[in-house]
Point group: C2
Chain length 445, copies 2
């Protein structure tokens, strides 16, 4: 799969360099829309636009839907009004929901005006929910029957329509509220007149449209079904969510976390324009600069000591980095625990005890190693002693912060995966420098 995409990229960019060769051959002949989307994202913007021109017209909407927002916007920006018009000529509600944020408002209005009434209704209902809510991503292709239907009604419906993933038929009451599910395979061999209600599944919980996407992926991890019904606050059946979408969302969630941990946006385009990319990253660098200056300030408190014992300046990175690494190990363990819902007021104390013990043991071990190396390097037992003490203290502080920083951030509703590590290393840097240089000024000057 990804091997194939790599070869295409090679091929595409190479053909660009050999002027004789045909530009961008055979893009997307056998490729699925998501593969074409990945390929387009991986190309520099000019090559991307040219490659886009080769995407078969009937595949274009699907490809755009699969693309990350920023890369998609880079293509849509070049659309003239005719191309836009063609693009939106026949969208369903789910597709327009995906594309709406990348389209000018008036284009969205035109697309809406062209939809049939039912799709427009779907769109308007979905658009009420925010970007992180299940309701926004409801799939309307499902088989619904009144709850008093019989087997023959179900079979008639199944012969007519065939949406993907039809593992269940959904029953609703007269007001459209969700009333239960019948598995299609349960219909085999049943008499025509049997009420469907008698074949009803052990009820499973419908998803609430207002809940977060993360809750939907959790639900799918133990609901052994390929689609779950989605209901609004009054219990009305809005549609369904499929497991394929849940898989995609989980993927995006983790990708978002990875990117956020470096201060990047999940939708970041590999080939975003330099100016825009610089501006966005500048913020994260600026925040980090403040914390770096804080560390410098801490060191500045000991200028006199540093002048007298320059070995301290040489060894500073060792103290800071051992604290940072030990702390990030604890931090990562706790962030995972928080994500799994495994950390609560009650088990924090035993956890803290355990992490402090682990930190204590490793602190003493590495303090001995580092102490001897430093004492030998600078032929000074005093330096060895000072750095050994500083390492023990800093690794203990790291364990403490590794537990407390993410827990406090979570309490403040700040994602610890995003900012936990910046705060933690600021703590271990400042504490490390102050303790190390402080001890140095006490014992070595």
């Amino acid at each position: 799969m990804s091997e194939e995409i790599k070869q295409r990229i090679d091929q595409l960019i190479r053909s660009d360099e050999e002027a004789d060769a045909p530009l961008y051959p055979e893009v997307s002949d056998s490729m699925e829309p998501d593969q074409v989307a990945l390929l387009l994202e991986s190309l520099p913007r000019e090559a991307r636009a040219e490659c886009w021109a080769q995407v078969p017209v009937e595949q274009r909407v699907d490809v755009l839907v699969e693309m990350r927002t920023e890369a998609r916007a880079s293509l849509l920006r070049d659309f003239d009004s005719q191309a836009l018009d063609q693009l939106i000529s026949d969208l369903d509600a789910e597709t327009l929901i995906e594309l709406a944020e990348s389209l000018p408002e008036d284009v969205v209005d035109i697309a809406l005006a062209r939809m049939d009434e039912r799709q427009r209704e779907h769109y308007e209902r979905s658009a009420q929910y925010d970007e992180n809510a299940i309701g926004r991503y409801v799939d309307h292709q499902l088989l619904i029957l009144p709850q008093n239907s019989r087997v023959r009604d179900a079979v008639r419906l199944l012969r007519r329509e065939t949406p993907l993933f039809t593992q269940h038929l959904w029953l609703v009451d007269r007001t459209g509220r969700y009333a239960g599910a019948v598995e299609t395979r349960a219909l085999f061999g049943q008499p025509d007149h049997l009420p469907l209600i008698e074949l009803e599944e052990d009820e499973f919980e419908p998803l609430q449209a207002t809940r977060s996407l993360r809750e939907a992926t959790e639900a799918f991890e133990h609901a052994e079904v390929s689609a779950l019904p989605v209901v609004d606050d009054s219990g009305r059946l809005l549609g369904r969510m499929t497991q394929t979408l849940a898989l995609e969302l989980l993927h995006e969630h983790y990708e978002g976390q990875l990117m956020a941990s470096a201060g990047l946006d999940e939708e970041e385009d590999l080939f975003a324009p330099v100016m825009r990319s610089s501006r966005r990253r500048a913020t994260w660098l600026g925040i980090n600069l403040l914390t770096a200056f804080l560390a410098s300030w801490a060191i500045g408190l000991f200028e006199g000591t540093l002048q007298e014992v320059v070995a301290l300046a040489v060894l500073m990175p060792v103290v800071a980095s051992m604290g940072g690494i030990a702390g990030s190990q604890t931090l990562t363990l706790i962030i995972r625990g928080l994500a799994l819902g495994q950390i609560s007021a009650a088990n924090i104390m035993p956890l803290l005890r355990k992490e402090l013990s682990v930190g204590g043991l490793n602190g003493v071990l590495w303090a001995l190693v580092i102490g001897f190396v430093a004492a030998y390097w600078f032929s000074s037992p005093g330096i060895g002693l000072v750095i050994a003490l500083a390492i023990v203290v800093n690794i203990a502080v790291a364990a403490l912060s590794g537990v407390m920083v993410p827990v406090l951030l979570e309490k403040l509703k700040i994602d610890p995966a995003l900012s936990g590590s910046v705060i933690l290393t600021t703590v271990t840097d400042v504490v490390g420098f102050v303790v190390f240089l402080g001890l140095g000024s006490l014992f070595l000057t």
Copy 2:
């Protein structure tokens, strides 16, 4: 969901403290096995063992299967031979595959001896595949028919057996090789004598048992089906893989990456014994110590300069940390690109150009800011100039390494998510210190 688990943890640990209160009330009455597993993992080891005693006997195997290896082993270690005997009295192949690595070898043998022949065959076939191969996790609950069957045979089968997720019936040829799929809903309204082959789906690619789990989750992201057939090298149908499993595996994959980035194991128990936990983490700290000493060595080259211009020592963290952050932003973007298969020999150069431009712009911007702050702080335009130059160089080097380090690691078949960031920060630390102190010794002494 996770809210519920939190409350249970609170309740469990609190009840431990109030001696009067009943110990561990109503654990797992309404809880699914995966929730019980999460709960058990979140408890300190003694509380865990006591809580385990409350888990209904009939749920125990399912709970153990859901637990992470290390936490599971902590429970199994306390099993006496009678309890083990009970545990393995009625296992199917999939369950034994999951539990085997946590059980003594002779216990696995007894469990195998008790299985019926078919399950034992399944087990032995699955056990041939390694931990990361699709073949190991094959699900054997599926409906298989000879390829010359007719609609009536399918309907008869469907009336008798009903495994979960039966969206398709699978067809095999006389030698057991995969021959196609028929969707159950396609059977409705078809004449009894119609050959199934005429209802065959647009063929979808079966999964190869030897391929990696990651490929399976990728396949599910665009195959709109709830289960895919798995075949061995000769095309024989081994069983199927369900989308629910794919979702679980994706979750584990990302959790593994998160943990690996801090040098931790995915199976790490929140309450692992202190000694074991310390020993495991010591390795990562040791590797990191070597890189820290490398940075110290670089600083040590300039002891004389530091003694003369102590401001350089104070400002060192700023140079190192700006390089580290800028580099990790590029690194993260490239790691994502590599994971998506979007980076190849051909687009590396344009990417490098872009990242160097972004780095250049941000380098100049922050060099100016930092230069002025430093010049003002130490009342020395020279210091301002030196740090500004060092920042520009280090951020450019960071951009270069951010692209090249993960690409080279990938070439060497080392996971860049695991070690990319250690190597990158070593580069930016060493380069940052050498350039900064080198310029300082040229211009300021």
